[in-house]
């Protein structure tokens, strides 16, 4: 027994030895013969570092890798829920290990455009002109005559409402008729009242006050900061009043935007503390809200109770019961811009990436019409799983391409969801009218500062003067260099 063991061990060891030899032999052999084949791709393989705050851009990255097989992209995703992305980015810009390409959200893109971290990519402007890229998306990326970031999206806002509830409370679900009923904020509030009265408080106009804050911000007369002083536009007071009226009169569901209760309204699974079913009439969302927020959340959700063996389906499928109108006031919400860092070692390649992802007709077309499916992407990289597919419906930044593809949406999933209404057409008419001249680097910090005072005032905890004071204090805390009276 011992002998056989020893023999076996000896064999194992010698095999190990031999295999070691074998490796070195095979390693040595191909080097001289296959030299050009093996080293060429290695030599030319370029690495591009891309940072973003969602996985959305990853799809674009894969498409870029398909078009440029010699490029390997290192993709890093850091969420921005509480500003993690921005914080990480700022400290990285200080310490040196910088990415080449950045995606920047509307909330903080100006911060970077107004500083000198981003490379000037104005050379791509003629291309943008050819594509009819919406001027406001270029304006956001431009500072002192230098264009530093481009966007693949244009994000005009809209209002989505439930057709069945419209019929019930207004007698019609016709988008034109409903649009007339909510064509300004006063009418919007009156409609909210009608809904509340006719539904005996069981249907809310909106899920949260957060739904309409953007409408007020987008329609200010003055930017937040003028001559380094905080300007509180009359729209802020209007916002405070409207939010309070909606809360106190029970026109809004008191849910938190992007939280459970808010989503629950989309598939009719909202239940108040007493157990009564509640419904939400409308959601004010922009272009991306339809394919990314409304559609995925309008289906029944599986809920498994403690100890239960079978899951219960909660909510119902509300697809086809929605309609899209432009809402009380035109606005714009969100959007992703792409820029390259000035100090990037691969600036040419980074510029190429911007060009490919934001100013390439084919990319934009593929992006908007749902060509980038999971199967398509897995052919490029088999390891990506099944979460990266880009469904049809995102509204793109090029007017030319958008107008070309409108008819493709006549029987798209988004159109079915809206009971035959082609939302793309609506967005295409809204997009050219958007102006974003008010946008400033400090917007995000200032608007975040208003959240808490606004909620306090709406719930009746503070008076308006107190709320305004709280707002001013919060701005002062966030932006020490701004003067506040």
């Amino acid at each position: 027994m011992k002998k056989t063991m020893a023999l076996a061990l000896a064999c194992l060891m010698s095999v190990g030895l031999l295999s070691g030899c074998g490796k070195t032999v095979t390693k040595e052999e191909p080097v001289p013969t296959d030299k050009p084949v093996v080293t060429d791709p290695v030599k030319t393989q370029k690495i591009l570092k891309v940072w973003s705050f969602t996985d959305e851009l990853k799809t674009m990255v894969l498409a870029f890798e398909e078009a440029h097989p010699e490029v390997k992209i290192e993709y890093t995703m850091i969420p921005m829920t509480n500003g993690e992305f921005q914080t990480k980015l700022k400290s990285t810009l200080q310490s040196g290990e910088i990415p080449d390409v950045l995606s920047l959200e509307a909330a903080f893109v100006r911060e970077y455009v107004e500083r000198d971290y981003l490379a000037d990519v104005s050379s791509l402007l003629p291309l943008a002109k050819d594509l009819g890229t919406y001027q406001f998306t270029i304006d956001i990326g431009t500072y002192e005559g230098k264009t530093k970031a481009f966007s693949y999206q244009a994000t005009p806002g809209a209002m989505f409402y439930r057709r069945s509830l419209a019929k019930q409370y207004f007698g019609t679900d016709d988008p034109a008729a409903i649009q007339k009923l909510v064509s300004d904020m006063t009418k919007f509030e009156a409609a909210a009242k009608t809904i509340k009265e006719k539904s005996k408080g069981n249907t809310y106009m909106v899920g949260s006050a957060g739904d309409f804050t953007n409408l007020f911000f987008a329609n200010r007369k003055s930017p937040w900061v003028v001559d380094n002083k905080l300007v509180i536009d009359p729209k802020v007071e209007e916002l405070l009043d409207t939010a309070k009226s909606f809360r106190q009169n029970g026109y809004e569901a008191q849910a938190n935007q992007w939280q459970e209760g808010w989503f629950a309204g989309m598939n009719d699974s909202l239940v108040d503390a007493k157990g009564n079913a509640k419904q939400v009439f409308s959601y004010l969302l922009p272009t991306w809200g339809l394919p990314y927020v409304l559609m995925p959340n309008s289906t029944p959700k599986e809920v498994k109770a403690e100890g239960a063996t079978t899951a219960k389906m909660v909510g119902k499928d509300t697809a086809g019961d929605w309609a899209c109108i432009s809402g009380p006031v035109p606005y714009q919400w969100g959007g992703t811009w792409i820029g390259a860092l000035k100090d990037s070692k691969n600036l040419d390649l980074a510029t190429e990436f911007i060009k490919f992802s934001t100013l390439n007709k084919d990319t934009l077309k593929n992006w908007a019409t749902g060509v980038y499916t999971n199967e398509y992407l897995r052919k490029i990289d088999p390891t990506i799983g099944d979460k990266l597919a880009q469904g049809a419906g995102d509204f793109i930044s090029s007017q030319k391409v958008a107008e070309e593809i409108i008819s493709k949406f006549d029987d798209a999933a988004t159109t079915k969801f809206l009971a035959g209404q082609n939302s793309y057409k609506g967005f295409a008419t809204a997009a050219p009218n958007i102006s974003l001249k008010l946008i400033q680097a400090s917007d995000d910090a200032i608007q975040r500062s208003l959240n808490d005072p606004l909620a306090n005032y709406a719930s009746g905890k503070t008076t308006k003067d107190q709320a305004i004071k709280e707002f001013k204090d919060a701005v002062k805390n966030a932006l020490t260099e701004i003067e506040i009276d």
Partner: protein, 328 residues
């Protein structure tokens, strides 16, 4: 030849002896180097930064002296953060030490003979193993407007309508205090029980012979002999409490909403750091103030608890040092 080798050997022995003396330095070197690089240098650098107006978006900065400190002490946000931090810590620490003390007395008591002590201790300690972020999200969902707490209390007839807990400053603070208590009282129990079981049973036996009551034994034997452990718990809890961040940060909007009621000093520091320009200088200054406050308070606690009892100070000094040093 022989003498030579002897000499060599002697020399070897000498150098060996010297080397042995230096072993101490050698063995402590990894810690010292690590400490200098990763603790002392950042500390000194933070100290330096707190006198500058450095921001993350600007590469140039200048030294502004005590301006940051002056601005902070005049800033109502900072005052609020300071008050909040102390309020939340004290209100969480008192029940924490109280209930932990009560439970550890019961569980170590020879008369009560509670069964499955190890089991209970584990149960109490479990919350401490969870990630604070998870706990914050859990409690946010529990107490949210459409959450189970509202559902249960309305359906159970305790409340008339659903309540927006995170709009009420008192409720939000209470939730943070409760979470902090719930997370940490288990670990306090473990330390307290370790301290109590290490007290020699002979004291209690002789006290019982003398007819002492349980309360008397607790006050005259347990408490004095537990003092070193109490100092340790108090100081570590103070350090943790002054640096409270994850729960208040994750529970609401990361800015201490509602009305800044759970904005602690560390949350404020992070707010300054992550503001849109990234005020590193001001954030460093908040960090320095937390450091100074914690140091002063910790030294005060140690001094107060030691000087009050001269007997302990004289006789048990070595033991105190040992316990405190050992625990740290």
């Amino acid at each position: 030849m022989i003498t030579l080798s002897k000499n060599v050997e002697l020399g070897k022995k000498d150098s060996y002896k010297i080397n042995k003396k230096r072993y101490g330095y050698l063995f402590t070197a990894p810690f010292i180097i690590g400490f200098l690089l990763f603790s002392l240098y950042p500390l000194i650098y933070t100290f330096y930064l707190s006198f500058t107006d450095m921001t993350m978006m600007n590469k140039s900065y200048k030294i502004v002296g005590f301006d940051n400190f002056k601005n902070l002490f005049g800033d109502p946000f900072f005052q609020k953060a300071l008050v909040n931090t102390w309020k939340i810590w004290i209100l969480n620490f008192i029940p924490q030490i109280g209930i932990a003390m009560l439970l550890s007395v019961w569980m170590t008591n020879n008369r009560l003979k509670i069964k499955f002590v190890g089991f209970w201790r584990t149960i109490y300690f479990l919350p401490n193993l969870l990630m604070p972020v998870t706990i914050a999200v859990l409690f946010f969902n529990l107490f949210s407007f459409y959450g189970p707490v509202n559902q249960l209390s309305v359906r159970g007839g305790i409340m008339e309508g659903a309540m927006d807990f995170f709009r009420s400053t008192a409720w939000t603070q209470s939730i943070v205090i409760f979470v902090q208590w719930w997370m940490w009282f288990g670990s306090t129990i473990i330390v307290l029980m370790a301290g109590m079981t290490s007290i020699s049973p002979t004291y209690y036996e002789s006290a019982m012979v003398d007819g002492a009551s349980t309360l008397q034994m607790f006050r005259k034997i347990t408490l004095p002999l537990l003092k070193p452990v109490l100092v340790y718990i108090l100081v570590t809890s103070l350090v943790g409490g002054m640096q409270m961040f994850d729960i208040p940060y994750m529970l609401t909007d990361g800015r201490g909403s509602p009305s800044g009621s759970i904005m602690t000093m560390n949350v404020l520091m992070y707010m300054k750091f992550s503001s849109n320009k990234g005020h590193i200088g001001v954030a460093a200054c908040v960090g320095m103030i937390i450091f100074i406050i914690t140091c002063v308070a910790a030294l005060l606690i140690m001094k107060m608890l030691r000087e009050k009892d001269p007997y302990i100070k004289k006789k048990k000094k070595s033991k105190i040092v040992k316990t405190v040093g050992g625990e740290m």
